[in-house]
């Protein structure tokens, strides 16, 4: 490898020897193409015409009235596929094409990254396999069906708890056996180098746009930027735009699951300890000896016991703050945004909204929060119906 892929001491590439050449190849290709004129032009056209960028920054007036300060939503939910994931799958998919790869694999939790990969597989005519935990397949069946309609094969992973962690395990195992012709389109800004760097690169458009939109629409920068954190790609994407603006607070919201004290959650940065999983040294939810804990969250996309390395560094340096929102708080926030604005947020993004609700009365009315509304909640309607029945 040319670079160490470290964020402070975090990150790196802790992988079996067999994966080193293919990660080297990926690193080399990324640094060759990411500034290449033709590549940049093609990606920018696809982002605009296929994905629907730029996404709007929307003043959620009625939601703001409820919490008592100004809330702006960065509408990544309006992108093609319904989430920020398409930014990354277009970038990496195009990279795969430039590298001459013909097959894509990806892991997925909520199915948003799986769907965004399946879309790109269809767009570029690549054979696509999506690894997904069996529990997630059950709770995100709409996305599973959409992936299949796009022509992807969805492979159910039974190991462990049948969630995102197990899907990554099996995708890595599959990749080990198919390194020569298969591109692993990793979905979050975590895992082994160079993925945290690559995924962040393709998600920085969120932060760049949001900052510009703040200056144009509000005439100033926001007081805080809030995003949910599973692996951390939407959060690092929007944080990156404001990281040098020291007066802007950056807040990452993890999945508090049932509750932090119950141990049934996925709040890695809030409650974890440093270790090594999925190729990176990062905060992890683990037992005393280092066996990885089962996690729990109403949101499949946040249900993961590790996190991206840059978030670990941002936590240690204090540049970003990390908090947790429990399932019930996220479900309340989902209901509030839907009722007050007619916008269904993804349960992942609902965690970020839940943090704002928790700040009611703590900020003054002129303060401004920008929330990354990373995805739309259509996929979650049946879960919400189960947990919060509407009745007749």
């Amino acid at each position: 490898m040319k670079y160490k892929g470290r964020f402070g001491d975090y990150g790196g590439f802790y992988v079996p020897e067999v994966l080193i050449p293919v990660l080297e190849e990926l690193e080399e290709a990324f640094y060759r193409f990411y500034k290449d004129q033709q590549y940049v032009a093609e990606l920018s056209q696809l982002s605009r015409e296929y994905a629907g960028r730029p996404s709007p920054l929307y003043y959620a007036k009625r939601f703001s009235e409820h919490v008592g300060f100004k809330v702006y939503l960065k509408r990544e939910d309006l992108l093609h596929g319904g989430a920020h994931k398409v930014n990354n799958t277009l970038g990496q998919g195009l990279l795969a094409k430039y590298m001459g790869k013909t097959k894509l694999i990806a892991e997925t939790g909520a199915g948003q990254h799986g769907l965004a990969t399946a879309m790109i597989g269809a767009l570029f005519g690549m054979e696509t396999k999506i690894f997904m935990g069996v529990i997630d397949i059950e709770r995100q069946s709409v996305n599973v069906h959409k992936m299949k309609l796009c022509g992807a094969e969805v492979i159910g992973v039974e190991g462990g708890t049948g969630t995102l962690k197990d899907a990554i395990n099996d995708a890595l195992r599959y990749w080990t056996a198919h390194v020569t012709d298969t591109f692993y389109l990793f979905g979050s800004a975590c895992g082994p180098h160079p993925y945290p760097t690559i995924v962040k690169h393709f998600q920085t458009c969120i932060g760049k746009e949001a900052r510009q939109q703040c200056l144009e629409q509000l005439g100033r920068l926001p007081d805080m930027v809030v995003a949910c954190v599973g692996g951390g790609s939407n959060a690092i994407g929007i944080f990156s735009g404001f990281i040098d603006d020291k007066d802007v607070r950056l807040i990452g919201v993890e999945a508090g699951g049932r509750s932090l004290s119950s141990g049934r959650h996925a709040a890695t940065l809030v409650a974890g300890r440093v270790g090594i999983l999925h190729g990176a040294k990062v905060y992890l939810l683990q037992d005393e000896e280092g066996q990885i804990h089962d996690t729990e969250s109403v949101s499949a996309g946040l249900d993961y016991p590790a996190v991206g390395p840059e978030h670990c560094l941002l936590k240690d340096t204090g540049r970003a703050e990390y908090v947790a929102a429990e399932d019930d708080e996220a479900l309340d926030a989902f209901g509030l945004l839907t009722k007050s604005e007619g916008i269904l947020p993804a349960l992942e993004s609902s965690h970020a909204l839940a943090y704002l609700v928790s700040q009611k009365g703590k900020l003054d009315s002129e303060q401004i929060a920008v929330v990354n509304l990373s995805g739309r909640g259509d996929k979650d309607v049946s879960i919400v119906e189960k947990r919060r029945p509407l009745g007749n």
């Binding site: 802790y14 992988v15 395990n169 000896e289």
Partner: protein
């Protein structure tokens, strides 16, 4: 304590190849696992490769994953692993290599891990998810604890990298015979003979071959290609899985199979 060097040089004198069975410590439970390993020693094992179970073994196929789960369910932990190793060493002074994942070493404390496990009788620790690039994190502490180093080479490892790996290896090179995770295979990978030959040109460090070796014929081919050792994991771990209801049959099957391999190499 018997060293890899001693074993390989003894075998060389007899024109034989080392038989290296792999088991997950504590699979399916502590006591049976001890009996299994003793059986393997009696059947002619020259070196033992022992796995410590991990919740997320990304380099392992379904057979070893299930063994990890069985061992963890029966309460395996690092304290018991130390006890296990001492028991095996009491039975026979045979070199033991551990094969495991980095997080367990890291959480235990790298230096303390190597010291404690070396004291119990371990000769080397191969960390499956730690490549040569970050090996400095363990090479120093391993050497000061008195351990040999073992690293992997695969069919996609480039020659200059092979040389680098060989230069950091004091025990043996664990040569992965195919692209993929652990697991028994019907046929041996066609690339293995060339790979062993290449390594033999590049280094004098002993070369052992693992992954997918499931039949005495596979072992014979690997031995004829010039390998110093043959590592057999999933095939015999599969025999444990297939005979969970009959411990005596399980031991007999493992003994017979290893005996057949032994005579083939």
């Amino acid at each position: 304590m018997k060293t890899y060097k001693q074993v390989f040089s003894e075998l060389k004198g007899q024109n034989r190849t080392a038989l290296i069975p792999f088991f997950v410590i504590g699979d399916p439970d502590f006591d049976t696992s001890v009996r299994i390993v003793k059986t393997a020693i009696d059947a002619g094992a020259d070196i033992l490769e022992l796995g410590i179970p991990f919740s997320d073994p990304i380099a392992d196929g379904p057979t070893i994953q299930k063994a990890d789960i069985r061992a963890m369910k029966s309460g395996m932990n690092l304290g018991k692993a130390l006890e296990f190793i001492r028991k095996v060493k009491d039975y026979k002074d045979i070199p033991i290599g551990l094969l495991m994942y980095y997080n367990l070493v890291y959480q235990y404390g790298i230096e303390k891990f190597f010291n404690d496990f070396h004291k119990a009788g371990v000769n080397s620790v191969l960390v499956a998810d730690l490549s040569i690039d970050d090996a400095d994190e363990i090479v120093g502490p391993a050497a000061s604890a008195g351990l040999d180093t073992v690293f992997m080479v695969t069919p996609v490892t480039k020659p200059e990298r092979m040389k680098l790996i060989a230069s950091k290896t004091t025990g043996f090179i664990y040569t992965v015979s195919l692209l993929g995770v652990t697991g028994s295979r019907e046929n041996l990978s066609g690339t293995i003979e060339g790979l062993v030959g290449k390594l033999k040109e590049l280094t004098n460090v002993p070369v052992c071959v693992g992954f997918g070796i499931s039949k005495p014929e596979h072992a014979a081919t690997v031995a004829q290609a010039g390998a110093d050792g043959v590592i057999i994991g999933s095939k015999i771990v599969g025999l444990i899985e297939d005979n969970l209801n009959d411990r005596e049959k399980m031991l007999a099957k493992i003994s017979t199979f290893l005996g057949e391999v032994k005579s083939a190499i």
